[in-house]
Amino acid sequence: MKKYSLVFSILLVLSMLLAACQTATTVPTQAPVEPGKAEEPTKATEPGAAATESQTLIVWDQFYRDVESNVLDTLNQEFEAAHPGVKIERVVKNLDDLKVTEKLALSEADGPDVAQVNQGRSDMGALVQANLLLPLNDYYTKLGWDKIVTGSIASRNSFTADGKTMGSGNIYGVSPTAEVVGVYYNKTLFQKNGWAIPASFEEFMSLLATIKAAGVTPISFGSLDGWNAIHEFSAIQHLLVSPEYINNLVYGTGAVSFDTPENQLAAQMLLEIADGGYFTDGFAGIGYDDSNKSFKAGEGAMTITGSWLASELIEGTDQEFGFFLLPGMGGKAGMAIGGVGIPFAIRQGTPKADLAAEYLTWMISPRAAQLWAEISYMPAMEVPADTKIEEGSLFADTLKAWDTVNKANLVGHYIDWATPTFYDTLVAELQKLLGGETTPVEFTAAVQKDYADFLAKQQ
C-alpha cells in the first residue's frame, strides 16, 4: 500500500502540472499583454425595442470600456438616425472573447455583418484563408476610403487571398484608431532648465549629455519586462531604414535580412545611450510600469514609448508633459513605430454588404474622429478642425505626431510581428546587448538567425 500511495500522490501532483499545460489545447493563444488592453467584464448592449420591418445590422466590437463604448453608442445612434429603418444590434466583447468567438460566428449564416477582427496571421489571416471575410477593395475606392486611409495604413489590414502574406493583396478591414511611438518629455523640467525640443537625432544625443550634466536622468527606462526595449531599439532603427525595408521585414517579403549595417548602427546607438548612462540607473532591474511611475513623478526628463501612455500620464501628477517624434538623422523626417487599431471587417456572404460598408464609412468619418479625439483616444483619421482639443495639451502633441507621420507615409511597424518567435528573440537579445553580453554585430546576427529560420519555413 505504502508504495502505491506514494506513486499515486506523485502522479496526482504531476497530473496537475500537466493539466496546467493542457489548457493550451482549449484556450486560444494570447498576444503579450499590451498596455490599455486589460481584461474587463464584457457586456452586451440590449437590442432596441422598436423593431420595424427594417434591416438589422449585427455589429461585434471590442470597445468595452465605458468611455470607448459611449463613442460607439453615439455613432450607432447617429447612424440609425441617418438611415431610417436601419437598426444596429451591437454586441460588445473584450478582445480576447472576441477572438475566441468570432471565428465560429463569422461562419454562421446569421453571424455578425460587421465585426472587429484583430490583424495578424492567426486572426485575420486565418479568417481570410477560410474565406470568411469580404474583400473591401471596391468599397475602398467607391466610398472614398482611399482619401481617409492612406496607402501604408490600408496595407496593414491587407492579406493575400490565401491568407498567407500580410500587407498585400486585398483589403479586409478599416481601422478607426491609431497609435505612434515617440518621446514624452517633462515640460516642467524642460522649462525650468531651458532645454529645447531637439530638431535632429544629433541634437537629441547632445541634449542627453546636457540633461545628464544637470544631474537629471535623461531617459526614464526599465528593461525588466523586455518588450519596451524593442521600442527603444526600433525607434532608432526606424530613423535609419527605409519604409520598404520595414514593410518587407514585417510582412516576410523580399527576403530581407536583419543582419544589416543599419540595424547594427541602431544597436550601436542604443548601446551608446545605455553606456553613456543616459537611461535610468539600474534600468535592467526596473519594470515598464515602475519606470513610468517614476517618470510621472518627475524623475527623468524623457521617456520613449507609445501614445497609449498619454491618458495615464496626465492623471494625478503636478508635472506637465509633452510629446514629440524622435527626430531624424540630420533633421531629416524619419519613420516612427506605429500602427492602427483593430479594424472593422465585413462577413463574407452577408446580404447587407452595402449597408455594412456604409457603416464602415461611418466608423472612419470626421464625426468619428471628433468623438475619439474628445476622449483623448487617437483616431486613425484626421481630426476635424472644429474639434475641441486643448491647445498645448499632451493629446494635442500625440495627435500632431501621428498626423505628421501618417501624412508623410512614415508610419512604421512593431517589428516583433515579423515571426512568431521574433518577440521572444528580440527581448532576450536586446537584454543581452544592453547587459554587455553581446556586441551590436552579434545582436543582429542572433536575431537574423530567428528570421532566416522563419523565412525558410515559409517556403
Partner: protein
C-alpha cells in the same frame, strides 16, 4: 492494507461507490487532460489550426536538440539548491532550535516563519520585484544606508545575479514549510534518545546529526519530494519577476512550456517538454523514495 470489510447486511463494495464522484472529477479534469497532453506531444499542432498530424517522436527530438531546453533545465537544477537543499537545511536548523529548547513565543515564531508558505506566488513575486528594484527597492536602499552602496545592483536585471535572486525568493517561500514539517516530526521522536545522548555527553550538534535527522527521515523525504517538484515546475515566480530574462538568464522549463504553447503556438512541442519534465520529476521522486525505503513513511 486492510481487506475490504463490510458491516453486516452491507455489500463490501459499498464504500467504493462513495469514491465515484471524486474519481469522476479526477478522471475528467486531471487524468484525461494528462493523457491528452501526452498525446499532443506526438502531434504537429499549432494550437488553433484544425490540422493535427502525428509526427511520432519529432517533437521530442526537437526538444533534445534545443539548446534553450537544456539551458532551462540546468536552471531548474540550480533551483533545486535554492528550493530544496537550502530550505531543508534552514528548516532543520530552525526546527532543532524551536523544537528542542523551550522558547517564549514559540507559536508566534512558528507562525511568522511559516507565513511565506501561505502567500500566493504572484503576490510574493510582485513584492520581491519591489524589494529588488534598483531605485526604490528596500534591498539597495539598505545597502546604501549601511555604506555598502557599491554592492547595490539591478538584481533581477543582472546576468550573474538574476538566477540566485529569483532562487532566493524560492528559499524564502520553502523553508517555513520544511520547518513546520520537521517540527511536527520531532514531536514523534522519543525524548529518551536525547536524555540518553545527554548522559553520554553528546552536544547539540551531535544530537541533531545522530538523533534528529535520522528520526526525521520520513519528513525529510516528504520535504525533498515536494520541494524538488516545486523547483522543477517553477513558473509563476519567474513569470512575475523576470519572464526568463535578462536574456535567458532565468529561463526555466515551465516558462519554456508556457512560451511555446501560448505565445508561439507550438502546442505539440510544449506538450513534449511538459511530458519530459513530468518524467524527470517522477524519476527524481522515485529516487527520493529509495532513500526513504524501510523508514517511517508507512507509519505516518
Amino acid at each position: 492494507m486492510n481487506r475490504l470489510r463490510a458491516y453486516p447486511g452491507e455489500s463490501k463494495y459499498q464504500g467504493l461507490v462513495y469514491l465515484l464522484p471524486g474519481l469522476a472529477i479526477y478522471l475528467v479534469f486531471t487524468f484525461w487532460p494528462v493523457l491528452q497532453t501526452v498525446r499532443t506531444s506526438f502531434l504537429n499542432w499549432e494550437g488553433l489550426a484544425p490540422e493535427k498530424n502525428f509526427i511520432g517522436l519529432a517533437n521530442y527530438l526537437q526538444v533534445f536538440t534545443d539548446d534553450k531546453f537544456w539551458l532551462a533545465l540546468s536552471h531548474n537544477l540550480i533551483f533545486i539548491i535554492f528550493y530544496c537543499l537550502i530550505p531543508i537545511f534552514i528548516g532543520l536548523l530552525l526546527a532543532s532550535l524551536l523544537g528542542r529548547y523551550p522558547l517564549k513565543g514559540f507559536t508566534f515564531f512558528r507562525t511568522i516563519l511559516f507565513l511565506p508558505q501561505v502567500l500566493s506566488m504572484v503576490v510574493i513575486g510582485v513584492a520581491w520585484r519591489w524589494i529588488f528594484n534598483p531605485t526604490f527597492g528596500p534591498l539597495n536602499l539598505l545597502l546604501r544606508a549601511i555604506g555598502l552602496g557599491s554592492l547595490a545592483r539591478p538584481w533581477l536585471g543582472d546576468f550573474a545575479l538574476a538566477l540566485p535572486a529569483v532562487g532566493s525568493v524560492g528559499t524564502w517561500v520553502q523553508y517555513g514549510f520544511c520547518m513546520v514539517l520537521f517540527l511536527a516530526g520531532m514531536q514523534r521522536i522519543s525524548e529518551e534518545y536525547y536524555e540518553a545522548a545527554d548522559l553520554d555527553g553528546a552536544n547539540a550538534w551531535q544530537e541533531l546529526l545522530f538523533i534528529t535527522i535520522p528520526g526525521l527521515r520520513a519528513e525529510i523525504g516528504v520535504a525533498l519530494i515536494t520541494t524538488i517538484i516545486a523547483a522543477l515546475r517553477v513558473f509563476d515566480l519567474v513569470f512575475v519577476t523576470t519572464r526568463g530574462g535578462p536574456g535567458e538568464a532565468t529561463l526555466v522549463t515551465g516558462f519554456l512550456v508556457y512560451r511555446s504553447a501560448f505565445l508561439q503556438n507550438r502546442t505539440g512541442y510544449a506538450a513534449a517538454i511538459a511530458t519530459i519534465l513530468t518524467l524527470i520529476i517522477l524519476a527524481l521522486s522515485l529516487l527520493v523514495r529509495r532513500y526513504q525505503a524501510g523508514d517511517a513513511w508507512s507509519k505516518t
